[in-house]
Symmetry: D2
Subunit: 347 residues, 4 copies
């Protein structure tokens, strides 16, 4: 089996597991008050260069998006997102469930455009009837996006500028942030993100942890009583150590970026495997998710050989868009094995 | 340090950790569709004697109570609970957050009374104005209760009878279910619970797991699209294996009950330590939570020696009610060390 | 027929109807931007002595309580109310529906007690676990209460003091405020209410209007975007004139208090009818709702003669507590007719 | 002043006012249990040809949409609407506030297309990931639409067919239903609507009443405990007579359709005024809302003469789209006066 279906097919990185094992029988206090959690927060504060950042650990991405957005918005506000944003498409209505509209902007390979955002907000306030409408209350972007694409620093700066102009908090969904930071073609650093956004999260589930996302308020201005609201959203785990120990390990000795780099290196090799064999890419992704246009027949043959991938969407009668992911766990041998299977198939 | 503050001070039972370690690099599908999760469900079905049970794994107790209650109730209904019920007191309003009232009945050492429940529901329907009131829509009990107490089989049967008479689903919060099942003085088996309730959960977080609760619909009648609603509540983890592997291990070779029995055995010893030294119990608890009335001065002395416990509530000017917990991880040596410290203190 | 069942059995006071008729064909702007609404607001500002008050007109009591409470509370807060408070008992869970717990205090003839409130809030903050609990976020009182009783000025001052000490907004439900203000035994004026509370409403539905409640923020500090949130709660009527014209009439030439006084005068006569004939009162109510203990047989006889009242609750085997209401519309003739029927019955 | 800004500038139709006046001092029971409400329901049952219809009276349009949609949808479902639908654009997020996503389809002059609806639902179920998405749970259409346009009988039949194929309740927002039914160019009767939809409402606020909308479940299958849920949504008025008397009058002797016809006749004359003078229509509306493209300069001149209309949206640099409405209250004299002003302006 060669499984490229997603970046959450394995458990956690061995060093994370080691940390869990090492600390397992220590008696610690609950609900995120333990020493590992405190240490993890400090390591993250160092990593992002914000000594005063407020940090909270939640369990998964949808939960994090739901809790951050609901606790940031005022009752009469909605969240602006790309049409293709995870919060708009694939969270079973978790945002609306908390009472807020997702206000969709056009997606450009998964990204929103600063000018379109500005026009959208301006036209809202220009509308004399806007008191009867949902107010744009914050902006959600994902980086990498759901299509593996990235914002450039100038794009992110422009979006941040529009947000500040209109006093809209900017929230960056970093479910796969590590892969974005380690991309060969990005000029966005974690410090840029900490400076340009108001809240973001550093994804653990898809970057080496069993579970866990670190929500960061870089300016230290988290909502009042955030822990109470996390609990109210069903998102506070009793054994907070589970998140704390994992993030403490991920942010020790550069593990988080090191393992993210592996995914990027493997993705580059993966791209070459497809490009060398003449396949075209649905989207030009510089991260660990690759979207390839492939004939259905080829895909069937690959499946027979045990290659697993994700069907993304139909391309035309004969072709599908499929997703192949690499991760911290992908090995060079797996990429080579894939190449061999593809060549064997053609012989 | 001798930490008796709660039953979630350690990580997970070594065999659970072993299972996580063994399976760590296996590539598995996400969101609870993996083979370990399936195996865990089947082992639980065997354990409870319900081959058709619907089972879902969630991460923590508040999340589980919130999701089960909200997906069971109709919009105009509330949940009936003991005044002291966890959903009424210590979940930061997680139930009301989903739109439903918690309707409190008197608590008798943490338990509700079947007759009082019947009278409450009858008086609701007798009230000619009840169309303008919140309808009782389900009944929540905890077993063990928040005070460590248990329902007897006849009490549980009576409550179940009242629920069926009024067509109210009965939900049993089993955050500490293992400790309840292994109590020396219970006549309630897991099969009784499966028969007498409509939905219950088997707690993992407090009985040997890092996280995780198994929600069981013994009759196989879970709400339609339950997975979608779990996602909508932010409660669906991507790496469902985290719950699956742990519960698979807990329900292999009787581990769950075996480790729960350890907590009970230690609790019996703990009770003896206090009783022998003349302390009285605030509540007569047959499970792993013990509530003891102790002079503040004694407590200070214990703290100095590194004994950790939980302050429960003031008793009178000079005494406090404190909670000492045992768990799957408590050793005989720890109990003996506590006894020594107590005696040393007095010498 | 002699109908004393409630204070909303008739339409509106003739002068209110006249105002609706007079203004009917005027073309006015919508959603409360019309000139009558503006005039009504100014008249109310005069009446309460607060030239800067923010005022909004809503349609009914439950809607008003729901909207005011939900827009005042933070997400993690609940509203403190007497156990017998309308929001706790008779609004079909409208408060919980918006995500907030109603936190019940003991009711003393419908009133809460300032000291008990203080102890409740203090004990919340004293509880080391309070971050996992619902925060008391505002205080709800009704004046008159659901039992027709009133707070004295010193009681109201004490409650207000506790609220300010703990920074809890105080909300007074004035569904029957007019009757409270005109009671013979009250020392609370509208200016006291404007000074001692943070938000209150002046009920129209039960005091001479077809519908409508005037929500008043005496200090002019209504929540931002209140109109948008009223709309979001389904509570903004297109023809805002319906409320505006009615309240404009009610607050012209003292109509509101004049018609409320009629209800009080009639209630005094009503009380005498019952007292003279030896009946006892369940509660000593100084307003337009009277609660009388009467034998079931007597009630049957009254019903046969066409007397209508409201069954409140069983008193004992042979007696019921029943409610008789007067209103702006009750006439002396109706009271006399009731007296005659009662005497005829006995002859 | 010549006010064409909306169809809710006047109070109520004189005959409605007469009915309110006539019944004003009658003592009636509350919350919609009165005899006028019952009579109104029966008259509406006759009008729509559905003797078993369930009917409820609410106060306004947003409230009605919110309550009907929220009580129809399951927790995990959203409502499908045209992009331009009132629930999607102009209700301050009232639908999302209740936890549900509005799922927007392309609007064709305000209408959705049956085939696009079918494709949308099919592609949802074809998506292998749809358990992680919001389920389409009902379909919302307005008739007339927000642009004054109407569905033809064949369009409505096609949409109804798609809804039944996918088991999606079809909800028709009839805020201006009277004007739709009386349009010269419609082939859709009230009986068609009763047959083809699952729930609809007959607007009163914009068609002759002071307030009030009649929600109709033509098959008599309203949600269980609908009154309780209406109360829970803050939408149950104590003096239900206010709605009952008005609708009873509107459906006596064909008043509702007669006054709607007046609006249509005036709209035809209005269209002629503009068309004769060479103005073009932004949309071809067969009902009482007319959308005209006019030079900003012309508009300024009209305003100076006291003509009031609604700015809809910018058309180009020099022109605006404006809305002129007629209503039950518009007179032929008003249309003639408008024509005179327009001609005077040009001379």
């Amino acid at each position: 089996m060669l499984n490229f279906a997603s970046d959450y097919t394995e458990g956690c990185h061995p060093k994370v597991l080691e940390a869990l094992t090492r600390s397992n029988m220590e008696q610690l206090t609950g609900y995120g008050t333990d020493t590992y959690t405190e240490s993890a927060k400090n390591r993250i504060r160092d990593f992002i260069g914000c000594p005063d950042a407020d940090i909270f650990f939640l369990t998964g991405g949808t939960q994090t998006n739901q809790t951050v957005i609901d606790t940031t918005l005022r009752m009469y506000e909605g969240v602006v997102s790309a049409q293709s944003g995870h919060v708009n498409c694939h969270e079973a209505g978790a945002i609306e469930y908390t009472g807020h509209k997702v206000m969709a902007l056009p997606a450009h390979d998964g990204r929103i455009d600063a000018e379109e955002l500005d026009r959208f907000v301006k036209s809202f306030y220009d509308d004399s009837d806007h008191d009867h409408m949902v107010f744009p209350g914050m902006v959600y972007i994902s980086h990498p996006t759901e299509y593996g694409t990235l914002y450039s620093k100038s794009e992110l700066t422009a979006i941040s500028g529009v947000c500040r102009k209109w006093k809209l908090p900017l929230f960056l969904d970093g479910a796969r942030l590590g892969y974005g930071l380690m991309s060969k073609s990005t000029d966005v650093t974690i410090k840029d993100i900490a400076e340009l956004t108001d809240v973001f999260y550093i994804g653990g589930t898809k970057v080496g942890a069993l579970c866990g996302e670190a929500v960061v308020y870089p300016k230290g201005d988290a909502p009042k009583q955030m822990v109470t609201m996390i609990k109210q959203h069903g998102a506070l785990v009793a054994k907070g150590r589970l998140n704390g120990v994992q993030f403490d390990a991920l942010f020790t000795d550069g593990l988080y970026t090191e393992i993210a780099k592996n995914a990027i290196d493997r993705a580059e090799e993966l791209k070459k495997v497809f490009a060398d064999r003449g396949y075209s890419f649905f989207i030009n992704s510089p991260t660990n998710q690759q979207f390839i246009v492939m004939p259905k027949k080829t895909l069937e043959a690959l499946e027979e050989k045990g290659v697993i991938y994700t069907n993304w969407e139909p391309y035309d009668e004969e072709n599908m868009v499929v997703r192949f992911c690499t991760s911290w766990a992908t090995t060079r041998e797996q990429i080579e094995a894939l190449a061999e299977i593809m060549d064997a198939r053609n012989s």
